[in-house]
């Protein structure tokens, strides 16, 4: 066993043990605990749980690497994934919390109609499932790289631990485990980032000091045939229009993702939901403000490490990672002349985006315990998101589908929990299978999950709260047209389900189409609502009700 493996085992066993102990202590007995943690989670803890829920394997493992190669255009992820929280905090969270039940489809069902609820439940399951498979596969990669375990067994091991705490503890178990997972992942992310920043610039605050290396990085990038880090619209073929639309899609998608929204149901009050949003973004920004710095520093270290080197004299980490197939070197090159992140580019050194964060301690020459900590952090990010998504799948399947469509009346509390747990167990089994045999669309998970959330949930939630006249037929037509429009364009432009990838229309990439889909949904919902009868007085009064933190009458009685 190498030193790195020892430390990886050490941190993985330590952190998994903590998660399981927390889950056991917060095991649940009631439906309300299972679905929304009894709406008793303190604001600060809820913020940390949202942050862990939200930051997936993609945020932790992938984002900094993407930004390293996208440079300035990597800001689509930074602004898109954080800006969505402003929309959530101002436009959705307080109102959905006020209405306060168990699931997002449930709100839509009460506000519009049962058929909208069914469409929403199916969308929630599809969106969450696409997303969860990516987390499973991400966890498997971490295990196979650091522990020498096969990817299959890695996925199974991840699933067993999640199964234990999610099925046992429901939302309550997940919440407190996520708080622990946030702590692990942020420590694991910040320590190497601060160390690398200090090593390179002498200032241990990466957010401030990465400015100092940008000029040098641009010069080195040019030498290796890469786009300048600071040049706008050099990283994405679609240019300014595309950057705009992708950012907007990611924002709307963030605000529409069921596993994020559902976390605002767990606070005690509407006021708690507002402050939860603040703490959530605060915790998220610790990682998101660091990621571009990690990207810049790691890329600089990488390029400096290979400058003027021949394939035999390259740094050690290139060989270690070469074994995973994620780094390839052209052995015929005399010295490394070109570097790329694109497998088919024919460059002398090809580095996959996804390894940059996990390899950053090694690239920066940091000691083995930090590498092990990094692995535990990556696992925490993947597992916390997977658990949150599985809860959405379970609640949508049991609460919104099973008890509404199949067994309509007379379900006891005990029965509801049992069905919820069975649904979760089935979801985990399917996720294991899909994590081992990832379907083609996993690579496009971001585009799909966010595009679909932006074009289905976001518009009808907004209209449901801010426009009393929005009605059932309008929402059904809007959601379906947004969904069909967005999915069609994605299938047309991406290589999924056996379709060929066609050229982008008007420079709009599949990641950016969600914003257009959302506009389609908005317009169709408004037009159809105007043409049909307005919602009942009861529904309009309900909309009125959710706009205020509490009714004064109730206070005085």
């Amino acid at each position: 066993m190498t030193e790195t493996q020892f430390w990886t085992f050490f941190f993985i066993i330590l952190t998994f043990g903590i998660y399981i102990i927390i889950a056991w202590r917060s095991r649940v007995k009631e439906t309300k605990e299972f679905y929304v943690a009894s709406q008793g989670v303190p604001t600060l803890a809820n913020g940390a749980a949202i942050a862990a829920d939200w930051m997936s394997a993609a945020s932790f493992i992938g984002m900094a690497g993407l930004i390293a190669f996208l440079g300035s255009d990597g800001s689509v992820y930074l602004m898109g994934w954080t800006g969505g929280y402003v929309l959530l905090a101002l436009l959705l969270a307080p109102y959905l919390r006020k209405w306060g039940k168990f699931t997002v489809p449930e709100f839509v069902g009460d506000r519009y109609s049962e058929s909208v609820r069914l469409v929403a439940a199916i969308c929630a399951i599809v969106v969450s499932f696409t997303y969860v498979v990516g987390q499973m596969a991400g966890g498997g990669i971490v295990f196979s790289r650091f522990l020498g375990l096969s990817i299959e067994w890695g996925v199974v091991l991840v699933a067993v631990v999640i199964f234990f705490y999610a099925v046992l503890g429901g939302m309550k178990g997940i919440t407190y485990t996520q708080v622990a997972q946030y702590t692990v992942l942020i420590i694991a992310y910040l320590i190497p980032a601060f160390a690398v920043a200090y090593q390179t610039t002498g200032i241990p605050i990466p957010q401030i000091s990465y400015g100092q290396i940008l000029a040098e990085l641009d010069a080195l990038s040019a030498e290796f045939g890469l786009a300048a880090f600071t040049e706008a619209f050099a990283g994405r073929a679609g240019g300014q229009v595309d950057v705009f639309l992708v950012t907007l899609s990611l924002m709307l998608g963030t605000a529409g993702l069921p596993h994020v929204i559902i976390r605002f149901y767990t606070t005690k009050t509407v006021r708690g939901a507002r402050y939860s949003a603040f703490w959530a973004l605060f915790f998220i920004s610790l990682l998101y403000l660091t990621a571009p710095a990690v990207g810049a520093f790691t890329k600089l270290n990488l390029l400096q490490g290979v400058q003027g080197q021949s394939p035999d004299t390259l740094p050690d980490w290139i060989n270690t990672w070469g074994a995973t197939g994620l780094v390839t070197v052209n052995q015929d090159a005399e010295t490394i002349q070109s570097v790329s992140n694109i497998a088919t580019s024919g460059a002398d050194l090809i580095v996959n985006n996804d390894i940059l964060v996990l390899a950053s301690p090694e690239i920066g020459g940091l000691p083995a315990p930090i590498v092990g900590l990094m692995a535990a952090g990556g696992m925490a990010a993947a597992m916390s998101t997977a658990a949150g998504l599985l809860l959405v799948i379970s609640s949508a399947a049991s609460h919104d589908l099973y008890f509404r469509v199949i067994k309509k009346t007379g379900a006891s509390d005990k029965e509801q929990m049992l069905v919820g747990r069975i649904a979760m167990a089935v979801a985990i089994l399917v996720a294991i299978w899909a994590g081992i045999n990832p379907p083609a669309f996993v690579a496009q998970v971001v585009a799909f999950a966010f595009g679909l959330a932006a074009s289905t949930f976001f518009p009808i939630l907004i209209l449901g709260i801010f426009w009393k006249k929005a009605n059932g037929p309008g929402a059904t037509a809007g959601m379906l047209s947004g969904l069909v429009f967005t999915a069609t364009y994605m299938i047309y432009t991406l290589e999924v389900f056996g379709t060929g990838a066609n050229d982008h229309i008007l420079n709009v990439s599949p990641e950016g189409i969600g914003a257009v889909g959302a506009a389609v949904n908005f317009i169709v919902t408004v037009v159809v609502s105007k043409l049909t009868a307005p919602p009942s007085q009861v529904v309009q009064e309900m909309v009125e009700e959710i706009r205020y933190p509490q009714t004064r009458a109730a206070v005085r009685s």
Binding site: I67, S72, G74, S75, L78, M79, T82, G83, Y85, V86, A89, L90, L91, P94, Q207, I208, Y210, G211, Q212, I213, L214, A215, T230, A232, Q240, V243, F244, T247, L248, K268, T269, V270, R271, G272, R274, Y275, A277, F278, L281, F282, S285, Y288, L289, P292, I462, F466, W467, K468, K469, Q537, Q540, E541, E544, R547, Y548, P549, Q550, R552, A553, V555
Partner: protein, 108 residues
């Protein structure tokens, strides 16, 4: 989002208390929201995307300003916006007597 004017005309039973405060509360909420969203749009889409190229001509601490807004400044702004929203809404809640300061969500 413009049905403010239609409010209060619904079939509320006569015994319900005076609900005119609701319109005033909602209007204040909407006004705050629109101001904050305008800032949100200006800083992110405005400075970080639409005006990024001209702003990049200004360099501070090594950061071209447009890039700084896209990768750092916008996130700081978002954080401040949400905090301002939460604090300001507390003020509005107090003003209308619907504050939820204690944990149970009741009136203080």
């Amino acid at each position: 989002m413009s049905d403010v004017a239609h409010e209060g005309n619904s079939g509320v039973p006569p015994e319900a208390e005076d609900i005119s405060w609701r319109q005033r509360y909602w209007k204040k909420n909407l006004r705050l929201m629109l101001v904050l969203l305008a800032v949100w749009f200006t800083v992110s889409f405005g400075f970080g995307i639409l005006l990024i190229e001209p702003l990049n001509n200004i360099v501070i601490l090594g950061f071209p300003l447009g890039l700084w807004f896209a990768q750092q400044g916008s996130v700081y702004t978002f954080l401040i916006l949400i905090l301002v929203y939460a604090l300001w809404m507390d003020k509005i809640d107090d003003e209308f007597g619907v504050a939820e300061r204690n944990d149970e969500g009741g009136y203080k």
